[in-house]
Amino acid sequence: MSIEHTSSGSPATGVVTDALLDLSVVTKQFGGLVAVKDVDLQIRPQEIVSVIGPNGAGKTTVFNLITGIYRPTFGDIRLEGKTLVGLSPDQIVKRGIARTFQNIRLFNNMTVLENVLVGQHTQLKATILGSLFKPPRVVREEAHARERALELLGFFGTALLERQEEYVINLSYADRRRVEIARALAANPKVLLLDEPTAGMNDTETLEAVKYIRRLRDELGLTILLIEHKLAVTMGMSDRIAVLDYGQKIAEGLPEDIRRNPKVIAAYLGTASSEETSEEATKSVE
């Protein structure tokens, strides 16, 4: 049973601290198909860890296992030492894990502000009777929730604040991504899972996204687990990288090491080319 650890030691020094999020031997089988096999991963507080791998490697499945959408066939997932296996997704949110989705799942017919207010569901305590009679406590809570939502939107500058009453379906892709992150932040999580946060973005938008993801860790003290396909982003932003292929973790370590790892290169480019292109790959990604 690990001890709860709240210090924020420098994330990249490699000092051994206790894991905030701990996956041990996590396996998920769908009938005959083994989607994820024996995955071990420890995430330390305030780290930015990337999970990469070719398509179909099981990265989103790992996310779904952590957030309770799937239940592991075998293995354990612990947050601050307490197991998450068997909990429903909403209970896991209450424990302190929030996520965004690869395909952006916002509540399309609600406004920006309403989406972020829904994100605060676990932080509010109003019951059905409280909502009916609206005692001062509930009125205060709603006002505070609204202020907090506006603050969260303000994290991304004025663009979302100005569009707070807009229906999210009318926003640009990059703005929708930001709203989804704001909604996840509204749950006051300890760990934030971002599933391909820069998918579909051009270079400018990607750089902006990298900046605000870094700020999420630096200013808000969040621990971030990232699925990312753009190698430049992964290399530049992560403290550590884990590589999945066919459901298994084939490598883990610092970005520079992963870049040169022959197994990783083989997974992306195929074994025949692994030796030839290892040098080229090293140069091009730099």
Partner: protein, 662 residues
């Protein structure tokens, strides 16, 4: 306030504005006055001051009707001020006058011609869409492009704000003056042709002096209410509300919104291109509607000469449909759970009072029931029925928790069938097919309340409706309401935002059933008997139709939907045969041409056709919630090009939504 302000404006633009609105408002006001307003007022005076009586109408009835007429005039004076202050002046007069005639004169005309409030208004619902369609064609043919409402979004300077207020004040004054002068002329004609009784004469003199004064005061009120909706005033309100949060500039906010969304926001602002449709005006309309509904039992005998009791009883019956629609709105409209068996909870509520508040209680428990005392129990049992129904709502919701859409609907359909059959089979307790009779009406101090006195029931259902609207609004704008809408939109995203799906869905079922429990107990008391065959699958579908046709998720929508479906289904379609038998009515031709034909046999066909037509042309419902209208008319009205999913560049919402790899 100088006399200069009361001079009729000399700048051409302002003068035209005054003409525009004075004519626009005088049309309906004069029509109403000549139709009924004048006779109500005159008759009241005669009743109060001479021995004049009208059969079937009490003094208090006259007084209350007068109150309504005075409220009507007061609202119109205030509206004169509001419209003149709020109008930006960019839209043409003729357009406005035609709109006014269609929306005020046509209903009056139809009600007079059909001698029925309900049929007249129902015909309006047919006429108005046709008018809109014609209007659209004419506008297109004339190549008339209405000005962009966003152009008018700007802060008003203090000088402009004062000008607004002055316009409102003079508007009310000149409207009051014009109206009283025209009315004076009409009454002078009466005076010279036949003479007027003294009380009426005194009234005419008083009125001619006082109306301009009231116009001035109420017009000022209207102007000030308009001022509260300018950009500057709304900005101040927003700043005060969010004092601890980052401030947003409303003007740039509105300009950065998408066209459809911006158009919604602009409807609230002053100056406005179409102030008749603005939110400020809607408050006035609501006030007038509230006065009408409250005072209706007094007004009815004066508007129509016979059939009052039947009509009020009919409205008191329609009321419970409104409550059912409001309850089903929570389950289907907010939470998106398709419930096809809603009648089950209505039956549970009805039987709860039936089994307690009648002789059946003696059968069940052996205790004697005192008919003087027992009916007082109606009030606590009303709440009890609601709670019992809510309990069963939660219980019957549990099996549906893991099911989606269609499968959930089938399970609810099953329960909708099972519950009435249980009541039928438990005949030892519920008296089976014969049902429970002799159910007590409630007792209230000072009121004679039986199954045959509709007026207390009318006010009871009105009070219940107001209460339940309030509950509905509070729920919708709460943490729970947001959770319901989130579940409807995307269950997985909702669960991933921390919403407990099971509890939230069960709350929806429970809250919906609570409403129908209240409706059930009320219905049992009003009708006086309940039988199992009164609750069928057909009814569940009708309730669903009310909610969908009215506007899923929209509170005013489902209320109107309930009234319209009730009017069409229970009143009009049911009476087509009676109307056809009457030789003076238009429908008699059908009887002559095909003597064996009855409307009753094609009643469901007609009703079904109406439902299909409405869904084809207005799937978002009669008064849709803003969300729903947007949801169903996806293409922005500004953009012409429909882009297929494969034409849309990757990374945009269109691309992502069509090509989904799960």
């Amino acid at each position: 306030m100088s006399m200069r302000l009361l001079k009729f404006p000399d700048e051409r633009e302002t003068r035209l504005l005054f003409v525009k609105w004075l004519v626009a408002l005088l049309i309906p006001v004069l029509a109403f006055t000549l139709w009924d307003g004048e006779s109500i007022l005159n008759n009241t005076l005669l009743t109060l001051f001479t021995g004049f009586t009208v059969e079937g109408v009490t003094t208090i009835g006259f007084v209350l009707s007068t109150v309504f007429v005075l409220i009507f005039y007061a609202v119109t004076f205030a509206l004169a001020g509001y419209f003149l202050a709020a109008d930006s002046g960019r839209r043409s007069m003729i357009e406005l006058w035609i709109d006014v005639v269609i929306f005020t004169l046509v209903p009056m005309l139809l009600v007079i011609l059909t001698t029925s409030l309900v049929v007249g208004l129902a015909l309006c619902i047919v006429v108005w869409p046709i008018y809109f369609w014609v209007r659209k064609r004419v506008v297109a043919a004339l190549h008339y492009a209405p000005p962009d409402p966003l152009d008018e979004v700007m802060e008003l300077s203090p000088a402009q704000q004062d000008a607004l207020k002055d316009r409102g004040r003079s508007g009310g004054f000149w409207f009051g003056t014009a109206f009283s002068l025209i009315w004076l002329v009409i009454d002078l004609v009466y005076l010279f042709s036949g003479g007027l009784p003294t009380p009426v004469l005194i009234f005419v003199i008083l009125r001619t002096i006082l109306f301009p004064v009231f116009g001035l005061l109420l017009g000022q009120l209207g102007g000030e209410l308009a001022l509260r909706r300018t950009l500057g005033a709304l900005q101040k309100k927003a700043d005060a509300k969010d004092k601890n949060a980052p401030a947003v500039d409303l003007e740039s906010e509105i300009k950065s919104l998408s066209p459809t969304r911006a158009r919604e926001e602009v409807k609230e602002l002053v100056p406005n291109d179409q102030p008749m449709r603005s939110r400020g005006a809607q408050l006035f309309y609501l006030a007038l509607l509230a006065a009408f509904v409250l005072l209706y039992p007094a007004l009815d005998p004066l508007l129509f000469s016979f059939g009052t009791v039947g009509r009020i009883s009919g409205f008191a019956d329609a009321g419970y449909y409104v409550i059912l629609a409001l309850g089903l709105n929570i389950v289907v409209g907010f939470a998106g759970l398709l419930d096809l068996g809603y009648v089950a909870f209505f039956a549970i509520g009805a039987y709860t009072w039936a089994l307690i508040g009648s002789g059946q209680f003696t059968v069940l428990t052996g205790l004697q029931v005192n008919p003087q005392v027992w009916p007082w129990l109606f009030w606590p049992v009303l709440i009890l029925s609601a709670c019992v129904a809510a309990f069963w709502g939660v219980l019957l919701g549990i099996p549906t928790l893991r099911l989606r859409g269609d499968y959930l609907a089938i399970v609810t359909l099953g329960f909708g069938e099972i519950i009435p059959i249980i009541f039928l089979q438990m005949d030892k307790y519920t008296n089976g097919t014969n049902g429970v009779v002799g159910i007590f009406s409630p007792h209230f101090p000072g009121i004679n309340w039986t199954t045959f006195t509709p007026v207390p029931y009318y006010y009871l259902i009105l009070a219940l409706i107001v209460l339940l609207i309030f509950i509905n609004l509070r729920l919708r704008d709460s943490r729970l309401g947001r959770a319901w809408i989130a579940i409807r939109e995307d269950e997985i995203a909702a669960a991933s935002s921390g919403i407990n799906l099971a509890n939230t869905k069960l709350f929806a079922f429970g809250a919906g059933a609570f409403f129908s429990g209240i409706a059930g107990a009320y219905h049992a008391a009003k009708v006086g008997n309940v039988t199992p065959d009164a609750f069928s699958y057909n009814d569940s579908i009708i309730y669903l139709a009310m909610v969908v046709i009215g506007g899923l998720g929209s509170i005013p929508g489902v209320i109107v939907g309930a009234l319209v479906v009730y009017a069409v289904n229970q009143l009009i379609l049911a009476q087509l045969d009676t109307m056809a038998a009457d030789p003076s009515s238009v429908l008699h031709i059908v009887k002559v041409l095909a003597p064996t034909f009855t409307f009753d046999s094609i009643r469901n066909l007609i009703f079904g056709t109406i439902l299909v037509t409405v869904m084809l042309f207005r799937p978002e419902g009669l008064i849709p919630s803003a969300r729903r209208r947007r949801e169903l008319h996806h293409v922005d009205q500004g953009q012409d090009v429909e882009v297929g999913s494969l034409d849309v560049p990757p990374g945009t919402p269109g691309f992502e939504s069509e090509i989904r790899v799960e």
